[in-house]
Protein backbone atom coordinates (compact mmCIF):
# COMPACT_ATOMS: atom_id res chain seq x y z
CA UNK A 1 0.00 0.00 0.00
CA UNK A 2 1.24 3.46 -0.79
CA UNK A 3 -0.31 5.09 2.26
CA UNK A 4 -1.08 4.04 5.82
CA UNK A 5 -4.59 5.43 5.39
CA UNK A 6 -5.16 2.71 2.79
CA UNK A 7 -4.22 0.03 5.32
CA UNK A 8 -6.64 1.67 7.74
CA UNK A 9 -9.39 1.61 5.13
CA UNK A 10 -8.61 -2.02 4.37
CA UNK A 11 -8.65 -3.11 8.01
CA UNK A 12 -11.92 -1.29 8.62
CA UNK A 13 -13.39 -3.24 5.69
CA UNK A 14 -12.65 -6.42 7.68
CA UNK A 15 -14.77 -5.06 10.54
CA UNK A 16 -17.57 -4.27 8.12
CA UNK A 17 -17.45 -7.74 6.57
CA UNK A 18 -17.56 -9.15 10.12
CA UNK A 19 -20.93 -7.45 10.59
CA UNK A 20 -19.88 -4.78 13.09
CA UNK A 21 -22.32 -1.94 13.68
CA UNK A 22 -19.90 0.03 15.81
CA UNK A 23 -16.30 0.64 14.79
CA UNK A 24 -13.85 2.89 16.52
CA UNK A 25 -10.58 4.08 15.07
CA UNK A 26 -7.99 5.85 17.17
CA UNK A 27 -5.01 7.19 15.31
CA UNK A 28 -2.10 8.75 17.17
CA UNK A 29 1.03 10.46 15.93
CA UNK A 30 3.32 11.02 18.86
CA UNK A 31 6.62 12.69 18.01
CA UNK A 32 7.99 12.44 21.57
CA UNK A 33 7.59 8.68 21.56
CA UNK A 34 8.49 8.58 17.84
CA UNK A 35 5.41 6.44 17.30
CA UNK A 36 2.53 6.36 14.89
CA UNK A 37 -0.13 3.91 15.97
CA UNK A 38 -3.70 3.10 15.22
CA UNK A 39 -6.23 0.90 16.89
CA UNK A 40 -9.41 -0.37 15.30
CA UNK A 41 -12.01 -1.91 17.54
CA UNK A 42 -15.25 -3.46 16.36
CA UNK A 43 -18.23 -5.39 17.70
CA UNK A 44 -18.39 -7.77 14.75
CA UNK A 45 -18.55 -11.53 14.88
CA UNK A 46 -14.95 -12.00 16.03
CA UNK A 47 -12.71 -14.99 15.38
CA UNK A 48 -11.80 -18.17 17.22
CA UNK A 49 -8.30 -18.43 18.68
CA UNK A 50 -6.84 -20.68 15.96
CA UNK A 51 -8.05 -18.26 13.36
CA UNK A 52 -6.28 -15.33 15.00
CA UNK A 53 -3.06 -17.32 14.83
CA UNK A 54 -3.46 -18.35 11.22
CA UNK A 55 -4.42 -14.83 10.17
CA UNK A 56 -1.20 -13.51 11.67
CA UNK A 57 0.89 -16.22 9.96
CA UNK A 58 -1.05 -17.16 6.85
CA UNK A 59 1.85 -18.80 5.04
CA UNK A 60 2.73 -21.29 7.76
CA UNK A 61 -0.71 -22.81 8.07
CA UNK A 62 -0.50 -24.63 4.76
CA UNK A 63 -4.13 -23.98 4.13
CA UNK A 64 -4.98 -24.42 0.49
CA UNK A 65 -8.74 -24.67 0.54
CA UNK A 66 -9.35 -20.96 0.64
CA UNK A 67 -7.56 -17.97 -0.79
CA UNK A 68 -5.46 -16.44 1.98
CA UNK A 69 -6.25 -12.89 2.91
CA UNK A 70 -3.74 -10.19 2.19
CA UNK A 71 -4.91 -7.33 4.34
CA UNK A 72 -3.51 -8.23 7.76
CA UNK A 73 -0.20 -9.76 6.52
CA UNK A 74 0.45 -6.63 4.44
CA UNK A 75 -0.17 -4.40 7.45
CA UNK A 76 2.06 -6.56 9.62
CA UNK A 77 4.91 -6.45 7.12
CA UNK A 78 4.64 -2.68 6.73
CA UNK A 79 4.69 -2.14 10.50
CA UNK A 80 7.62 -4.49 11.12
CA UNK A 81 9.63 -2.75 8.44
CA UNK A 82 9.60 0.38 10.61
CA UNK A 83 10.57 -1.37 13.86
CA UNK A 84 6.93 -1.69 14.91
CA UNK A 85 4.40 -4.47 14.78
CA UNK A 86 0.75 -5.38 15.11
CA UNK A 87 -1.36 -7.09 17.71
CA UNK A 88 -4.69 -8.72 17.19
CA UNK A 89 -7.14 -9.91 19.77
CA UNK A 90 -10.57 -11.23 19.12
CA UNK A 91 -13.40 -13.01 20.82
CA UNK A 92 -16.05 -14.93 18.95
CA UNK A 93 -19.37 -13.21 19.18
CA UNK A 94 -17.92 -10.11 20.81
CA UNK A 95 -15.55 -8.37 18.48
CA UNK A 96 -12.01 -7.69 17.44
CA UNK A 97 -9.28 -5.22 18.28
CA UNK A 98 -6.31 -4.71 16.04
CA UNK A 99 -3.50 -2.34 16.78
CA UNK A 100 -0.57 -1.37 14.58
CA UNK A 101 2.55 0.54 15.59
CA UNK A 102 5.00 2.23 13.27
CA UNK A 103 8.28 4.07 13.83
CA UNK A 104 7.13 7.63 13.15
CA UNK A 105 10.42 8.90 11.78
CA UNK A 106 11.52 5.61 10.25
CA UNK A 107 12.60 6.03 6.64
CA UNK A 108 10.48 3.08 5.51
CA UNK A 109 7.27 4.34 7.08
CA UNK A 110 4.67 5.07 4.42
CA UNK A 111 3.09 8.51 4.61
CA UNK A 112 -0.26 8.59 6.37
CA UNK A 113 -1.97 9.91 3.24
CA UNK A 114 -5.52 11.09 2.79
CA UNK A 115 -7.36 10.38 6.05
CA UNK A 116 -10.19 12.79 5.19
CA UNK A 117 -10.87 10.97 1.92
CA UNK A 118 -10.67 7.60 3.65
CA UNK A 119 -13.18 8.54 6.32
CA UNK A 120 -15.51 10.30 3.90
CA UNK A 121 -15.82 7.21 1.72
CA UNK A 122 -16.42 4.80 4.53
CA UNK A 123 -18.78 6.97 6.60
CA UNK A 124 -21.08 7.73 3.70
CA UNK A 125 -21.07 4.16 2.35
CA UNK A 126 -22.00 2.53 5.64
CA UNK A 127 -24.28 4.92 7.39
CA UNK A 128 -25.91 2.26 9.53
CA UNK A 129 -22.59 1.71 11.27
CA UNK A 130 -21.58 4.04 14.08
CA UNK A 131 -18.00 5.22 13.57
CA UNK A 132 -16.02 6.90 16.29
CA UNK A 133 -12.88 8.36 14.83
CA UNK A 134 -10.20 10.09 16.90
CA UNK A 135 -7.03 11.49 15.42
CA UNK A 136 -4.35 12.92 17.68
CA UNK A 137 -1.15 14.62 16.62
CA UNK A 138 0.92 15.33 19.73
CA UNK A 139 -1.21 17.75 21.78
CA UNK A 140 -3.94 18.35 19.20
CA UNK A 141 -6.83 16.02 18.58
CA UNK A 142 -10.36 15.79 17.29
CA UNK A 143 -13.09 13.18 17.42
CA UNK A 144 -15.96 12.52 15.09
CA UNK A 145 -18.83 10.32 16.25
CA UNK A 146 -21.31 9.57 13.49
CA UNK A 147 -24.05 8.97 16.06
CA UNK A 148 -24.00 12.71 16.77
CA UNK A 149 -24.43 13.44 13.07
CA UNK A 150 -27.27 10.94 12.81
CA UNK A 151 -29.06 12.46 15.81
CA UNK A 152 -29.09 15.83 14.09
CA UNK A 153 -29.80 14.64 10.55
CA UNK A 154 -32.61 12.23 11.40
CA UNK A 155 -33.74 10.61 8.15
CA UNK A 156 -31.47 12.64 5.91
CA UNK A 157 -28.83 10.40 4.34
CA UNK A 158 -25.10 11.00 4.77
CA UNK A 159 -24.81 10.57 1.03
CA UNK A 160 -27.09 13.52 0.26
CA UNK A 161 -24.90 15.84 -1.81
CA UNK A 162 -25.11 18.70 0.73
CA UNK A 163 -24.23 16.43 3.64
CA UNK A 164 -21.40 14.80 1.73
CA UNK A 165 -19.87 18.15 0.80
CA UNK A 166 -20.21 19.37 4.39
CA UNK A 167 -18.57 16.21 5.72
CA UNK A 168 -15.75 16.46 3.22
CA UNK A 169 -14.97 20.02 4.30
CA UNK A 170 -15.39 19.20 7.98
CA UNK A 171 -12.93 16.33 7.77
CA UNK A 172 -10.42 18.26 5.70
CA UNK A 173 -10.51 21.29 8.00
CA UNK A 174 -10.05 19.20 11.11
CA UNK A 175 -7.26 17.09 9.61
CA UNK A 176 -5.39 20.19 8.49
CA UNK A 177 -5.81 21.89 11.85
CA UNK A 178 -4.04 19.00 13.58
CA UNK A 179 -0.79 19.93 11.90
CA UNK A 180 -0.97 23.67 12.55
CA UNK A 181 1.05 24.73 15.53
Amino acid sequence: MKELSLHILDIMQNSIVAGADRISLTLVEDSHADLLSFRIEDNGKGMPKEMVQSVMNPFVTGRTTRRVGLGIPLLKAAAELTGGGISLSSREGEGTVIEARFGLSHIDRQPLGDMAGTMLGILTSYEDIVFIYTHRVDEQEYTLNTQEMRDILGDVSFSQPEVMLWLSEYLNENETALYQK
Binding site: M1, L6, L9, D10, Q13, V17, G69, L70, G71, L74, D114, G117, T118, L120, G121, I122, T124, S125, Y126, E148, M149, I152, L153, G154, D155, V156, S159, Q160, P161, E162, V163, M164, L165, W166, S168, E169, Y170, E173, A177
Partner: protein, 121 residues
Protein backbone atom coordinates in the same frame (compact mmCIF):
# COMPACT_ATOMS: atom_id res chain seq x y z
CA UNK B 1 -14.65 26.20 10.57
CA UNK B 2 -17.51 23.86 9.85
CA UNK B 3 -19.35 22.61 12.90
CA UNK B 4 -21.99 20.00 13.64
CA UNK B 5 -24.48 22.81 14.07
CA UNK B 6 -24.43 23.30 10.27
CA UNK B 7 -26.12 19.93 9.92
CA UNK B 8 -29.34 21.20 11.41
CA UNK B 9 -29.64 23.77 8.64
CA UNK B 10 -28.76 21.17 6.02
CA UNK B 11 -31.41 18.84 7.38
CA UNK B 12 -34.14 21.48 7.19
CA UNK B 13 -33.14 22.50 3.70
CA UNK B 14 -32.94 18.95 2.38
CA UNK B 15 -36.21 17.83 3.89
CA UNK B 16 -37.89 20.81 2.21
CA UNK B 17 -36.68 20.01 -1.28
CA UNK B 18 -36.40 16.27 -1.40
CA UNK B 19 -39.42 14.20 -1.94
CA UNK B 20 -38.64 10.78 -0.57
CA UNK B 21 -36.91 8.86 -3.31
CA UNK B 22 -37.51 5.23 -3.95
CA UNK B 23 -34.39 3.11 -3.98
CA UNK B 24 -35.47 1.05 -6.96
CA UNK B 25 -35.52 4.16 -9.13
CA UNK B 26 -31.98 5.11 -8.34
CA UNK B 27 -28.76 4.58 -10.23
CA UNK B 28 -26.28 2.49 -8.27
CA UNK B 29 -22.52 2.92 -8.42
CA UNK B 30 -20.66 0.05 -6.76
CA UNK B 31 -16.92 0.29 -6.16
CA UNK B 32 -14.79 -2.80 -5.39
CA UNK B 33 -13.02 -2.14 -2.11
CA UNK B 34 -11.19 -5.33 -1.14
CA UNK B 35 -7.45 -5.20 -0.47
CA UNK B 36 -6.72 -5.66 -4.18
CA UNK B 37 -9.00 -2.77 -5.14
CA UNK B 38 -7.72 -0.44 -2.44
CA UNK B 39 -4.09 -1.14 -3.38
CA UNK B 40 -4.90 -0.44 -7.02
CA UNK B 41 -6.41 2.97 -6.24
CA UNK B 42 -10.10 2.39 -5.52
CA UNK B 43 -10.34 5.06 -2.84
CA UNK B 44 -9.62 8.10 -5.05
CA UNK B 45 -11.96 6.62 -7.67
CA UNK B 46 -14.74 6.31 -5.11
CA UNK B 47 -14.12 9.84 -3.88
CA UNK B 48 -14.16 11.17 -7.44
CA UNK B 49 -17.59 9.60 -7.98
CA UNK B 50 -18.82 11.12 -4.73
CA UNK B 51 -17.50 14.52 -5.65
CA UNK B 52 -18.97 14.50 -9.17
CA UNK B 53 -22.35 13.32 -7.93
CA UNK B 54 -22.37 15.92 -5.15
CA UNK B 55 -21.20 18.77 -7.41
CA UNK B 56 -23.88 18.04 -9.94
CA UNK B 57 -26.48 17.65 -7.19
CA UNK B 58 -27.61 14.27 -8.55
CA UNK B 59 -30.22 13.12 -6.05
CA UNK B 60 -31.08 9.69 -7.36
CA UNK B 61 -27.62 8.14 -7.33
CA UNK B 62 -26.27 5.91 -4.58
CA UNK B 63 -22.63 4.98 -4.20
CA UNK B 64 -21.74 1.81 -2.33
CA UNK B 65 -18.75 -0.43 -1.80
CA UNK B 66 -18.32 -4.12 -2.29
CA UNK B 67 -15.58 -6.69 -1.67
CA UNK B 68 -13.42 -8.48 -4.21
CA UNK B 69 -15.19 -8.67 -7.59
CA UNK B 70 -12.81 -11.44 -8.60
CA UNK B 71 -10.69 -9.77 -11.28
CA UNK B 72 -7.88 -8.32 -9.19
CA UNK B 73 -5.67 -7.39 -12.13
CA UNK B 74 -8.42 -5.17 -13.56
CA UNK B 75 -8.96 -3.17 -10.36
CA UNK B 76 -10.15 -0.55 -9.58
CA UNK B 77 -13.47 -1.96 -10.79
CA UNK B 78 -16.77 -0.09 -10.73
CA UNK B 79 -20.21 -1.41 -11.60
CA UNK B 80 -23.02 0.87 -12.68
CA UNK B 81 -26.62 -0.25 -12.40
CA UNK B 82 -29.21 1.88 -14.13
CA UNK B 83 -32.80 0.72 -13.52
CA UNK B 84 -34.11 -1.21 -16.51
CA UNK B 85 -30.67 -1.50 -18.14
CA UNK B 86 -28.01 -4.16 -18.03
CA UNK B 87 -25.21 -3.75 -15.48
CA UNK B 88 -22.06 -2.14 -16.88
CA UNK B 89 -18.63 -3.06 -15.45
CA UNK B 90 -15.84 -0.52 -15.79
CA UNK B 91 -12.27 -1.61 -15.13
CA UNK B 92 -8.89 -0.02 -14.39
CA UNK B 93 -10.69 3.12 -13.29
CA UNK B 94 -9.12 6.44 -12.31
CA UNK B 95 -10.59 9.66 -10.89
CA UNK B 96 -10.50 11.22 -14.38
CA UNK B 97 -12.35 8.27 -15.89
CA UNK B 98 -14.87 8.46 -13.03
CA UNK B 99 -15.71 12.05 -13.91
CA UNK B 100 -16.28 11.06 -17.52
CA UNK B 101 -18.49 8.12 -16.57
CA UNK B 102 -20.69 10.40 -14.47
CA UNK B 103 -21.00 12.96 -17.26
CA UNK B 104 -21.57 10.55 -20.14
CA UNK B 105 -23.12 7.44 -18.67
CA UNK B 106 -25.03 8.60 -15.62
CA UNK B 107 -26.14 12.02 -16.79
CA UNK B 108 -26.49 11.39 -20.54
CA UNK B 109 -27.11 7.67 -20.66
CA UNK B 110 -24.20 6.78 -22.97
CA UNK B 111 -21.95 3.94 -21.80
CA UNK B 112 -18.25 4.81 -22.08
CA UNK B 113 -17.40 1.66 -24.03
CA UNK B 114 -13.63 2.05 -23.99
CA UNK B 115 -13.47 1.72 -20.19
CA UNK B 116 -15.65 -1.36 -19.92
CA UNK B 117 -14.52 -4.85 -19.09
CA UNK B 118 -15.43 -5.90 -22.64
CA UNK B 119 -12.94 -3.44 -24.13
CA UNK B 120 -10.20 -4.55 -21.71
CA UNK B 121 -10.37 -8.22 -22.68
Amino acid sequence: MKSLADLEAIRKKTLDQVTLRKDEDSVRIVVGMATCGIAAGARPVMNAFMEEVAKRGLENVTITQTGCIGMCRLEPIVEIMVPGKEKVTYVKMSPEKAARVVAEHIVNGNVVAEYTVGAAE
